[in-house]
């Protein structure tokens, strides 16, 4: 690792100022589970690391309001998987967060970090997309609120401007009576990166949405309001056709983990399974 400086501001405003001063030569540090690895590999070579974990006005935690939850930037994955409200109202997110690395990783890695890293295979992004997450940033020109859909612009590329950092991720309450699910494919049952991942939600009115991960440069949302996917009398072939049509919008690549055609085929298979779970949860009254 190239030598670097380390600062540990105690106020958010100071962190923003440091970031603005140093520009791309500075990087923020929350969990470090991506940053430290990247620095060791020479992928990142910041001159200054700004540790966010001692900022008094950015403590780890999930705040509740009438409109939903807000996950602060320093909240770790274990904080999300362990939160009763997330598990009950945003089960796909809890399930996705549970798959991020090992427990050792989940005690450090943050939701905000996973989002800002913007890997095409980020485990939590499909769930966040599904739930209509909004990214709240703090910067030299004040706060911004950016829908996640518009926040991740490409692989490893976000809408953050110079001097900005993410301070929270907001999750609006899902419609009562909707059902959602998360499912992913990996090379082994143990800790792994996603070969593909996806989430599904079904609204009380029968609108079906999927979000797909690791099958495009950026995770994305697709939806189907035809009703074919929720109609119990619908012919399975018709249903599969709809699912195939949705999966066709993916652009998976072949890499070390899997071939593109396998990924595309698995999108349909896993969509079917996630849909089944989401439908079951909708019926049961789970979100």
């Amino acid at each position: 690792m190239r030598p670097f400086g380390y600062q540990r501001p105690e106020r958010l405003a100071d962190a923003v100022q440091l970031l603005a001063e140093h520009g791309p030569a500075a990087r923020v540090l929350a969990g470090g589970t991506d940053l430290i690895v990247g620095m060791r590999l020479g992928k990142y070579a910041p001159r200054l690391i700004i540790d966010l974990k001692r900022i008094a006005d950015l403590p780890a935690g999930i705040e509740e309001s009438p409109s939903g939850l807000a996950v602060t930037a320093t909240t770790v994955m274990a904080g999300i998987t362990g939160d009763e409200r997330v598990r009950r109202r945003f089960p796909a997110l809890a399930e996705a967060a549970q798959t991020v690395g090992s427990l050792q990783i989940r005690h450090r890695a943050t939701l905000a970090g996973n989002v800002c890293n913007a890997s095409p295979a980020a485990d939590t992004v499909p769930a966040l997309l599904l739930y209509g997450a909004v990214v709240v940033t703090a910067g030299p020109d004040g706060d911004r609120r950016i829908p996640l859909r518009q926040f991740i612009l490409g692989p490893r590329l976000t809408a953050l401007r110079a001097g900005e950092l993410v301070r929270a991720i907001e999750l609006p309450w899902p419609d009562a009576g909707s059902g959602s699910a998360f499912v992913r494919l990996t090379r082994r049952r143990g800790v792994d990166l996603a070969t593909i991942s996806l989430c599904c939600s079904v609204s009380p009115a029968g609108e079906v949405r999927f979000s797909f991960g690791a099958v495009a440069p950026v995770p994305f949302l697709v939806s189907d309001d035809s009703g074919a996917l929720v109609d119990p009398a619908a012919d399975p072939a018709t249903r599969d056709q709809v699912l195939a049509g949705l999966s066709a919008r993916a652009s998976p690549i072949s890499d070390l983990r899997a071939g593109a055609d396998y990924r595309r085929a698995m999108l349909v298979v896993l969509s079917r399974r996630a849909l089944r779970t989401a439908l079951r949860r909708r019926k049961a009254g789970d979100p």
């Binding site: 494919l185 090379r187 082994r188 049952r189 792994d192 070390l256 899997a258 071939g259 396998y262 085929a265």
Partner: protein
């Protein structure tokens, strides 16, 4: 006179042979006190970082070290120019490997320069400043490429002038067999090609080495499995007598064959002598992957069967893909293919084999030593024949399995176990023949691996004045529990409690010679040596008693830990007290077992024993995704006698999981420039705690029919040998696809299913 009779000591721990005595060294390991090589701190140690180039094969044009040498804290930066001319070379069979690359690099990761600095950070910073000017050259990376007569030569022909193959990439070739395959004709011939890819050991401890000057000699610390072989290699490259080379071998943190042979110790030795300081190199996990791997095999098998499924001939062509330096790769190929007919009766056999060089990391020893690769092919052949002929896959094996005393290789060691018994045990547990739940399949496979053919192990046992014991044995305890088993043997032989026995290993200056820890040989070779050392102690004790009590020769005996004289008994401690008094002393026993080379034998001699294994699995296939779940898995080993049952079982469990790794998920992926793309833990996947079979059982057969102490054979490799073909056969039964290339990833199975439709 008091006729005091003492019965066998009742105060012994459960340390006797055949009991699962607690692991010697276990307390140190669970408390973090165990010192592995990376934990050793010497005074004024320098840290070393290696410098290579970013491709498999390149002509080295120039190396500029001035920038590196200028970094604060750097004490040496060396290249081939700083080493003797001609470049010293080493290797366990062929001395082909240069201490540093000279003229050309031949595999990705081969060092061109080395930096030694006061801190790790300085060494890394300096290494990054070494400027290597190089021209990338086309690399040979596959069997086909290596076999192509137009391919560039991996090895300089000048290194093996006497070989007619020197102008090829064939390092060595063999033909084994008997009878007349050319004339053999069968009603049913099964012919297929099988591939076993390159995989890597991935011991949790990366390789580590330290070297330091030691007077007019040198000291080496290494995570090495073969300290005495390393001692020889260092002595040779430094032109030192063995007595001036001292190798310390801390217990390795897992090895599996990957730590058998010298890697960077010779380089460190030169650095130590040059700087006059201790120098330390601990490889990253990525560098460890680049340092050695399993030999990849491509096998074309043509097997003839009668209508009843009886094997009539085996016609096998095998290509083993070695790396850029021979290491022990040729032996891996020859030893495994010599037994390519497996544990069966085969009337006619022809086995044509080549060991090919390539611009990849050295193929070294790896648990199973070529046998898993060979079994992948021949056991899959058995399953295909059974399917074609409509014969049960268990039945076809029982029909062909050699019985005890029957030849498996003409003119060589016959079957030395009741192998069918293991098979029936496994079949019963897996419920062979009982109805299968839907979506599932079963597989059963057998295999033998030949143990050590030659070798030498010496042990010294020192009985101290208080009747406690120190055993000096040069075996490497890399997790298999050698310390414990050897202590148990000594405990049994001298009737001592286990807690009063110490086992010293890993120091060539104080511990006598052992050839190596490999081939599951140590229970037999070193175990026997320890037994003999203890027997010598008993004999000396009897003599001491006869002298002390003026008895005739033979009147004193030592039995069950008691010295029995005509008129009374003494404890051993009592006798020593009597004989030594205040001056004290000790009784030293030396034992050894040697297996000499048999002239004319292709492998140097018959194996001490065959390690036989039967593995059966029940597998579920998700036809939509191709994913496999191993529902049930049994491994049965014919071990003769389990000297420590828990240790044998845990070895076999570990072997089973490691085998599932190469069966389901492991393979090294190279790019076109010969660089491994999945270096490290992130993209080279091994089984985790969540990847184990739902039910896993390790069982042993103990017929006391081995050549080792108490009828033991060795074990540790068997559990790995035939998992892949068992799982593949189960997959075929579950969903109809037959796959002949490993690993059986979900994607591969899915693809095969899709092609089938």
């Amino acid at each position: 006179m008091n006729a005091r009779r003492i019965s066998a000591s009742a105060d012994m721990d459960a340390g006797q042979v055949g009991t699962s005595a607690r692991r010697v060294g276990g307390v140190e390991r669970v408390s973090g006190r165990q010192k592995f090589v990376a934990d050793i701190r010497l005074e004024n140690m320098l840290h070393v970082k290696l410098v290579g180039v970013d491709c498999a094969r390149a002509r080295i044009i120039s190396v500029d070290t001035t920038g590196a040498a200028g970094v604060d804290g750097v004490r040496a930066v060396i290249t081939a120019a700083d080493l003797p001319t001609p470049m010293p070379r080493f290797g366990p069979v062929y001395q082909d490997r240069p201490v540093l690359a000279v003229g050309e690099t031949k595999f990705h990761g081969e060092p061109v320069a080395a930096v030694a600095a006061e801190t790790q950070e300085a060494a890394e910073a300096a290494a990054a400043l070494v400027r290597v000017e190089y021209a990338e050259l086309p690399a040979v990376l596959s069997v086909a490429a290596a076999a192509d007569p137009a391919a560039p030569l991996v090895q300089d022909p000048g290194l093996r002038p006497a070989s007619h193959l020197a102008e090829t990439n064939v390092l060595q070739e063999w033909q084994f067999g008997w009878g007349d395959v050319a004339a053999a004709a069968s009603e049913h011939v099964v012919e297929n090609t099988y591939r076993f890819p390159m995989v890597t050991h991935f011991a949790i401890e990366p390789h580590g080495f330290i070297a330091a000057p030691d007077g007019d000699g040198v000291r080496i610390w290494s995570s090495i499995q073969h300290p005495y072989a390393l001692q020889s290699a260092i002595a040779r490259v430094l032109a030192l007598p063995l007595s001036k080379v001292r190798v310390f071998a801390p217990d390795p943190g897992g090895a599996f064959g990957g730590k058998q042979h010298a890697k960077f110790e010779p380089l460190l030795a030169f650095l130590a002598l040059r700087t006059g300081r201790a120098v330390r190199l601990v490889l990253t996990l990525e560098e460890t992957f680049q340092a050695g791997r399993r030999t990849a095999f491509e096998i074309r098998a043509r097997t003839g069967f009668s209508a009843d499924g009886v094997i009539e001939f085996q016609d096998i062509e095998c290509d083993g893909l070695l790396g850029a330096y021979a290491d022990i790769g040729a032996r891996v190929v020859s030893k495994a293919t010599y037994l390519a007919c497996g544990p069966y009766r085969v009337p006619d056999a022809r086995i044509r084999v080549r060991a090919l060089l390539s611009h990849t990391p050295p193929a070294t020893a790896f648990r199973g030593f070529g046998t898993p690769q060979v079994c992948w092919a021949i056991e899959s052949q058995m399953d295909e024949a059974a399917r074609r002929l409509g014969i049960d896959r268990l039945e076809i094996r029982l029909r062909n399995l050699a019985r005890k005393g029957e030849r498996v290789v003409r003119g060589d060691k016959p079957a030395d176990g009741d192998w069918a018994q293991s098979v029936r045990r496994a079949a019963e547990w897996i419920g062979w023949g009982t109805p299968l739940p839907p979506g599932r399949g079963r597989g059963i496979a057998v295999g033998i691996k030949g143990s050590a053919t030659t070798g030498a192990s010496y042990a010294i046992a020192r009985l101290h004045a208080d009747a406690s014991l120190t055993v000096l044995a040069g075996t490497s305890d890399m997790g298999q529990g050698a310390r414990t088993v050897l202590a148990q043997i000594a405990a049994q032989e001298l009737c001592l409690p286990l807690h009063r026995i110490s086992v010293v290993m890993g120091d060539t200056a104080t511990v006598p010679f052992d050839l190596q820890t490999s081939a599951s040989r140590s229970t037999v070779f070193m175990g026997t040596a320890v037994q003999r050392a203890c027997a010598e102690i008993r004999s000396k004790l009897a003599q001491l008693a006869e002298e002390a009590f003026s008895l005739a020769a033979g009147e004193a005996t030592v039995q069950d830990g008691v010295v029995r004289l005509p008129t009374k008994d003494l404890t051993i401690a009592g006798l020593l007290d009597e004989v030594f008094g205040d001056v004290r002393g000790e009784v030293i026993g030396v034992g050894s077992l040697r297996g000499e080379k048999a002239a004319g034998h292709p492998l140097g001699g018959p194996p001490a024993f065959y390690e036989f294994n039967c593995t059966a699995v029940e597998v579920e296939v998700d036809r939509e995704t191709g994913e496999l779940a191993i529902a049930r898995h049994i491994t049965v080993g014919d071990v003769g006698k389990a000297l420590n049952p828990a240790q044998v079982e845990s070895q076999d469990e570990g072997a089973a999981i490691m085998g599932l790794g190469h069966t389901l998920m492991e393979h090294l992926i190279f790019d076109s420039r010969g660089r491994i793309q999945n270096l490290g833990a992130l993209d080279y996947r091994i089984p985790t705690s969540k990847d184990v079979p739902l039910e896993l059982r390790a069982d042993v057969l103990e017929n006391a029919d081995g050549p080792g102490p108490f009828g033991s054979k060795g074990s540790g490799e068997g559990g790995l040998l035939v998992i892949a073909p068992a799982v593949a056969a189960a997959v075929t039964e579950a969903c109809g696809v037959t796959i002949r290339d490993l690993p059986l990833t979900a994607e591969r199975i899915w693809r095969a299913l899709a092609e089938q439709r």
